[in-house]
Subunit: 743 residues, 2 copies
């Protein structure tokens, strides 16, 4: 608090920037001296040594972060509600608060393990006697992993049940994995399968398994996948950042996102709710996650044939397929695994906290910035690293606001989402409740969930128009550490690509459905991004930071292993803050729509590989080529118009018209008829792609389907339909970018 | 031409009104002297006697109208294409054209009778000998009804087939009618039914019939329904406006609108097309329309029991039900009716013509004005009365534009739609092609299809926000004739209602799917209206003007019977022109969103009647009541803000923000998930209502369904779902109207 507070004291925005966006050339902004930028204010840089920085951090800056992560705050728990109040108070603070703040509450369906009947995983012999039991909770290694508020490991939304059967190892539980087991003659009917995290989504493991008659699923995190192979207690937390043997990844096993009972409707108490028996997307069979310590006991005792090489892992034994245990192992051969799941579905009230800074010039244009508040356990990394950045940004801007020296051109909406861990529920309900208003007015959505996975480099996911504003911000801010590089120059060393337009640039990833940006981009068509600091991928192959969703994701873990001195937090805060300010304050929106052209070209190039088989089915790529060219032409011309206007003094309405084109471009890619089976997904460029060709997702998926079904006319008709949908979307996008009075 | 041209010469807009919308108070506009209004310019009023006026008209004003209706111009026919060029030339005229004009072409599925094998309706005896044949074409009474370009009467999209069976009279072919026949024990299986136009849609007669095993359908227009009972040659055209005995109403029997093969996609040549076998919405069995002269021969010879009293008509005999002919009639009792339909589906290129006047201040806001161009035969009334108004408005505004003395604040888009008669095809494809652009920018859509049904009074259909601007226009313009009344004061004498807000006002009707406004309001959520002059309902009970869709809808018919002197044309041109100018030129959009409150209150009041049964199924109206109240409050406050702003000089961006709220309100009522079975319909207030309770259509329909299925839980769940959809829409609408920086 002190250091950041000092920044506000020492470098307030000068009053002549009060409406800096109005009439100013944003291109010039990048040339300003760094010290003049508001983004300088977020957690002032420090040149202390790592150890010294850590101490300083904990004395000066980290009390808020410690507060956020000091207790488990599972969605809708008393502590989650306490954090709602904390956020609300901060945003209503007379000295550093926002213009206004409020909570919105939704009644949503969550899933919890039974307190009376803990979930169990046991090995039982033929008489039913228990030979071995998996842990019910993680080991309390540092004193932080115990207590009544640590929810035991479970698979949220897994149905209750007590299946028992011989154990089979099913690798990652993908469709291919089960096909391979079937091909190898491994009996799956009435078995329990043990799967590794990774490869496919959590819930998909149970969906795939059930198709083969499997009656229960176990999931564990293999040390090979998360710890770069390390599995011993003295190699893992608290001795390193690695996952300890008892650590278990919790998670939601719900297939969709949003409240399961109120798709497309805000989950108001009075809203129509599906009967939970009629709701879809829940795992069809019981599933339970376990630690690799317990998985080792099960897996290293399995009988049957040796699993394929790429199914092997880091538990220090050969992984066999089963079914059942080997003859010379710990358990009698005919022992079985009993899985007892007693999860309960419960309607709970979950809150979002919303705070707004009213725009000075265009209050009806919203730049949204959010992250979730709920965690599985303490959630120091996930999401408190993000919540800390949220609070810092809102505090610094709120302080300027209350001093009366600054107000952005556009409105800024800060959001703390509830129940993200159960399936992006708070954010999705928000987009449902404010669908029209957001569709009309939202400029962009910035998501900072986990702000620091590790301290090597910036990592950004987003749609193409946000690339330029992120680059501008990242070029202006120093990377943490002593390299002297900008965040941009550091970033390009870790993640880069060769752009046909710009040459070598940092690579911006695409947006799936991993955090709260999903409803914004897929359902509402709002240009979105997710910003974090992350790993050096040459140093670790961990799927994610090792204590993800476990009881070991604590304050000390962040402070000691992820971001000593919290300099990466600072880097993210300054980068995201700069992006936020540029979006809310630039005269012309810093969304470069022309950057979509590279994406379209790459999709088109991939589609060209299908030209021959498509033509064999009388499907022409000609209209797609034309549509991409039209888009490129319209985007280039629009950029030229902007450049010309930037040279003179612009009529406010002219600027607004251009900005509306920039803002609404992303909306033009939505088509509610495109993917009738996919809940919320309507963005024809970013819907989930399951097909193998890296082209437009609808085309790719339909093509794969048509290929696999041979020459079924209906399948090829769907290929043509998807192609026409893309063409119509691109033609519509080009129409939105062309001069507004063109016919 | 001369008189209107004179108006332009004599009363050009003074140059100081060039950007009259900018900074001007529209409330004051209504107080201006009439002579200053541009709407004065459309076809200057005349005080000549009726006969003299008719002569003057034909000399001075009607050459264009005569040109438009001089030849049949069925959609995509050479004459239709010639009119495309005519419109294009007018809109590109250097003296009186628009800023730009172009055509857009779609490849759409139309349906035509075979030229080689005319459709036939015959009475045949048991050996197959033909005893009687219905006419293949209408009688050439005035020399205008013959010729190769008069398409013979047919039911567009009726499938080919040659069913033969005993004849049954089925009244209007509604579901209730067939139920009644079944209840009376009339054998419907394998019969041919004869039905009257009216009651239900054209295609519905065949859909309903097929459910009872009927194999062919005939349709005719009963003199009771169209001619106030008159049926004799000397009582009908050319001796009066009544339909002659041989007149046959053509029409589309397609259930939906838009191109049948490309729902939700613009019908570009390259677009995905359904196989016509897979397309839905076509009549399931052959159907053929006939004149009442032929219907009389069939119906007056029917046997069986006497039809119910309200099934009787004006053919001068008792209508029996059949099946089959009576024993003492013209035909042997065992004679049957053979229906030979040889219609063919054809892909044809249909054009829209688009012309634009670029807005001076907000070129990205579009006021759309359109009507269709295609007719069934000569189409003097339908649509040439509308096309004439379209051309007059565009000519007057184009002339001002080319003189450089005027340019509206917002852009005006004129449109001449193709293939409306086949199912609003041109307009629907337009909304599909420009979906995003229109959704972003369209202020309102004005439709003037048939501009003059008769010369008694104005008749307007539209959504509530357009009421105020239509009233303002109508108050300022003199009604035709010598009454001295304004159009408004004349209107209120014919159609009125008691408004809780305003007292007695003219009643504005609601929008179904009868003309090209349908895709704009139902699919795109654009505030829309349809404007015409029409009947004195105390003087005729005709369903519509009697020669509708027949070969008798000719120039002379209009000139002699509908609008001698073309003064009603002028009244519509001036009213629609004034509405167009107000929408395109007022500083604040003249859309009174508060006028939706009365509609919502009336829907809510109707819903209150369901409170008890709803509560029995645990469905509460509480949230609906709250949502309506929120809407009312937000709308009232917004109007107050506008009134306050109108008192001062307004910041252009403030005005734009308010106008965006007004423009986008209608969009907030769309929900693409609301009616998954209804193609294009997504407006939760104006979707088709089949339920008997006059409340929100989704609620009404679901309630009726639940009532009729007894206590089926899924049906009551749908009632709750529909209620939640309405609540969410109203909450979203209120959010759009509230101050933009409110959370």
């Amino acid at each position: 608090m002190g250091a950041a507070g000092e920044a506000v004291q020492g470098e307030p925005w000068s009053s002549d920037t009060k409406r800096s966006g109005d009439g100013e050339d944003p291109a010039k902004e990048t040339e300003r001296e760094e010290g003049n930028r508001a983004d300088e204010m977020f957690w002032k840089p420090s040149d202390q040594s790592t150890e010294r920085r850590r101490v300083i951090c904990c004395e000066q800056r980290c009390s808020r972060f410690r507060e956020l992560s000091k207790e488990p705050h599972l969605a809708t728990s008393p502590r989650d509600e306490a954090l709602v109040q904390l956020l609300l108070q901060r945003w209503q603070d007379p000295e550093s608060g926002l213009d206004s703040a409020r909570t919105t509450e939704y009644e949503v369906l969550l899933s919890f393990p039974s307190e009376e009947q803990p979930n169990r995983v046991d090995v039982v012999n033929s008489t039913g006697a228990i030979l071995f039991s998996c842990r019910h909770s993680e080991e309390n290694l540092t004193g932080e992993q115990g207590g009544p508020n640590v929810v035991p490991p479970y698979a949220a939304y897994a149905p209750p049940g007590t299946p028992q059967g011989p154990l089979v190892y099913a690798n990652q539980g993908s469709e291919e994995d089960f096909k391979e087991l079937q091909n190898k003659g491994v009996k799956l009917q009435d078995s329990i399968v043990l799967t590794r995290y990774g490869g496919v989504g959590r819930g998909a493991k149970a969906v795939n398994a059930a198709k083969y008659g499997v009656i229960g699923v176990l999931v564990y995190t293999d040390p090979k996948d998360i710890n770069d192979g390390k599995s011993l207690p003295n190699e893992t937390f608290p001795h390193s950042w690695c996952l300890p043997p008892s650590g278990v990844e919790r998670g939601s096993y719900f297939e969709y996102f949003g409240d399961p009972l109120t798709p497309y409707l805000p989950a108001m108490p009075s809203s129509f709710r599906l009967n939970s028996d009629n709701a879809s997307g829940f795992p069809p069979i019981p599933i339970q996650p376990i630690g690799f310590e317990d998985a080792q006991v099960l897996l290293c005792n399995l009988g049957g044939n040796l699993a394929p090489a790429d199914w092997q892992g880091g538990l220090g034994c050969d992984y066999n397929l089963g079914p059942g245990f080997r003859s010379n192992g710990t358990f009698p051969e005919d022992s079985q695994v009993n899985v007892s799941v007693h999860n309960r579905l419960e309607l709970r009230n979950s809150s979002n906290v919303l705070g707004i800074i009213r725009g000075a010039v265009e209050p009806d244009r919203y730049v949204l910035y959010g992250n979730h508040r709920d965690s599985w356990v303490h959630g120091a990394v996930d999401p408190s690293t993000g919540t800390a950045v949220l609070l810092e940004l809102s505090r610094v801007l709120g302080t300027l606001l209350k001093k009366g020296t600054w107000r952005p051109r556009r409105s800024i909406v800060f959001a703390s989402w509830g129940a993200e861990e159960f399936g992006l529920i708070g954010s999705t309900e928000f987009t449902e409740e404010f669908f029209s208003k957001l569709q009309e007015r939202a400029v962009a959505y910035i998501n900072v969930d986990i702000s620091v996975f590790a301290n090597a480099t910036l990592r950004v996911q987003g749609t193409p128009p946000i690339q330029s504003v992120v680059f501008s911000a990242a070029k202006q801010i120093s990377a943490p550490g002593s390299s002297g590089l900008s965040i941009y120059d550091n970033w390009i060393r870790y993640y880069n690509r060769s752009s046909s337009v710009y040459g070598l640039v940092p690579s911006v990833g695409t947006l799936g459905a991993g955090s709260d940006y999903a409803p914004f981009i897929h359902f509402l068509g709002i240009s979105s991004m997710d910003i974090a600091y992350t790993y050096d991928r040459s140093k670790t192959s961990a799927r994610i930071y090792p204590t993800y969703h476990t009881a070991f994701d604590t304050f000390d873990y962040v402070n000691k292993f992820l971001d000593p001195g919290f300099t990466s937090h600072q880097a993210v805060a300054r980068t995201a803050g700069s992006v936020l300010l540029r979006l809310s304050d630039s005269l012309f929106l810093p969304l470069n729509v022309s950057d979509y052209s590279e994406t379209l070209r790459s999709f088109l190039q991939a589609a060209e590989n299908l030209r021959v088989p498509l033509e064999q089915h009388n499907i022409s790529l000609g209209p797609l080529v034309t549509a991409v060219e039209k888009f490129e032409g319209a985007a280039t011309s629009l950029n030229q118009r902007i450049a010309t206007l930037q040279k003179g003094t612009s009529d406010p309405l002219q600027v607004r018209m251009i900005n509306d084109q920039l803002m609404l471009l992303e909306r033009t890619f939505l088509n509610s008829q495109a993917f009738p089976e996919e809940r919320y997904y309507s963005h024809v460029l970013w819907a989930p792609r399951t097909g193998s060709v890296a082209t437009f997702p609808g085309l790719s998926n339909a093509y794969s389907q048509a290929e696999s079904t041979g020459h079924e006319p209906a399948a090829w008709a769907e290929v043509q339909r998807q192609l026409s949908i893309v063409v119509a979307a691109l033609e519509g996008a080009a129409a939105t970018l062309r001069p507004v009075a063109d016919l």
